[in-house]
């Protein structure tokens, strides 16, 4: 048991914060995200023996999280499309200036409005740090489809950021 614990901790113990961030943006709710991460780790613990390639541990646990989300949490996600509706007060990791904070809030607001098919690959790339090939494998789609979705996701966010910034400037 101790050996299993050590292996578990070494392979995926350090990923809890990234998993939480990913879970938060999937669930759009702090409590659900915490539950999802806990469930993910529990599943991973039970299935640790099935992990053949230890180098793929990160992909493996993100895959578990996505499956657990689809299995238990997706239907519980509150219908949030604006940052103002988020029940959890997002606390940033480092202090930011008011302009930076404004821009970040605009991007967050735009992320909440993104369709899942655009937001998920983007989250896997930015939060998970996965390559296009890895995202394609995770989502079971082609690499070119991933690239298209990433392109469109960023385009939408940039458009929203530019539009909102202009409105801000006009005011």
């Amino acid at each position: 048991m101790k050996q299993k614990e050590r292996k578990f901790d070494a392979l995926i113990g350090h990923l809890s914060d990234d998993l939480y961030r990913f879970a938060f943006w999937l669930c759009k709710n702090d409590a659900l995200a915490k539950d999802l991460v806990q469930e993910t780790y529990l599943r991973a613990w039970k299935a640790l023996d099935s992990l053949r390639n230890e180098k793929a541990a990160k992909s493996w646990i993100f895959m578990i999280l996505r499956r657990e989300f689809a299995r238990l949490f997706e239907r519980k996600v509150p219908p949030i499309t604006s940052l103002d509706d988020l029940e959890f007060d997002i606390e940033d990791t480092k202090p930011l200036g008011p302009d930076d904070k404004m821009e970040i809030d605009l991007v967050r607001d735009a992320i909440l409005k993104l369709d899942k098919k655009y937001s998920e690959p983007l989250m896997l790339q930015v939060v998970g740090g996965f390559s296009c090939d890895e995202i394609a494998e995770q989502l079971n789609i082609t690499k070119s489809a991933v690239m298209t979705q990433l392109f469109r996701a960023r385009s939408k966010l940039q458009t929203a950021l530019t539009r909102e910034s202009k409105i801000g400037k006009a005011l």
């Binding site: 113990g13 809890s16 914060d17 939480y20 961030r21 938060f24 943006w25 702090d30 915490k34 991460v37 806990q38 469930e39 780790y41 529990l42 613990w45 997002i90 606390e91 940033d92 990791t93 930011l96 930076d100 821009e103 970040i104 991007v107 967050r108 992320i111 989250m123 790339q125 930015v126 939060v127 390559s131 296009c132 690239m147 990433l150 392109f151 960023r154 385009s155 966010l157 940039q158 950021l161």
Partner: protein, 230 residues
């Protein structure tokens, strides 16, 4: 790769290791400007996603895992206990339903299993015989005969004694059934090869199983004289 494709790459994956992409980034002014803007955006994007994870997250994960282990262990314990209980219930029921319903059925079942009895080459010492009967508050006289086998056994109503006595004309099986009350004082019946006599005693009853009625006639008075009920 042209400028349009460069911008496309920026929106797809600005951290690509593509050599052509990085060459353009360094050599083309428009590409360098677009890259700098993209990096600014990526920083904002990274910050937008980068929320602080709860400080107690790791503790709650460990707690959930250990709770789950405990619950699993408890479930396993209950499952094992339930399995043992059910097995016991099934075996007990099977044993109960297998038990002969009447003394006669018990005797027939006993005769069938009699071949499994391993007889002693030497007579069982009298004190051994007395010790076993003493367990049923019954004393044994000195003329109980040559006992070749004696053992506690299940009899209708409770435990009793299974004994095989050697007579001049062959072996005779005796069951002392202290908890078995017969409907009559004496019941005689035959099975395929054996003669059986069920005899009411002062305490319970005895079954005498022999090849012939003569053997029964020899053993029965011996038992009447040598079994004393305390």
């Amino acid at each position: 790769m042209n400028y349009f494709e460069f911008r496309q790459q920026l929106l797809t994956d600005s951290f690509t290791k593509d050599e052509e992409f990085h060459r353009l980034r360094k050599e083309d002014i428009r590409c360098a400007k677009a890259y700098a803007e993209a990096m600014e955006f990526e920083k904002t994007l990274k910050n937008a996603f980068n929320i602080k994870a709860p400080s107690n997250l790791k503790d709650s994960i460990i707690l959930r895992q250990s709770t789950s282990h405990t619950i699993e262990r408890s479930i396993k314990k209950y499952a094992i206990a339930a399995t043992i209980f059910l097995s016991f219930l099934i075996i007990s029921s099977a044993w109960y339903f297998k038990q002969p319903k009447t003394v006669e059925q018990f005797i027939i079942a006993a005769i069938k299993s009699e071949s499994n009895v391993l007889l002693s080459q030497k007579p069982i010492p009298l004190n051994e015989v007395k010790k076993i009967f003493a367990g049923y508050d019954t004393a044994v006289g000195d003329d109980i005969g040559t006992v070749r086998f004696i053992h506690n056994c299940h009899t209708p109503g409770g435990l009793g004694v299974h004994m095989v006595v050697a007579t001049e004309t062959g072996l005779v099986t005796i069951y002392y059934m202290p908890k078995t009350q017969l409907e009559k004082k004496r019941i005689d019946f035959d099975t395929n090869n054996d003669k059986v006599a069920l005899v009411t005693m002062k305490k319970g009853s005895v079954a005498i199983i022999a090849d012939t009625t003569q053997q029964i006639a020899a053993v029965e008075p011996m038992l009447q004289k040598n079994l004393f009920f305390l």
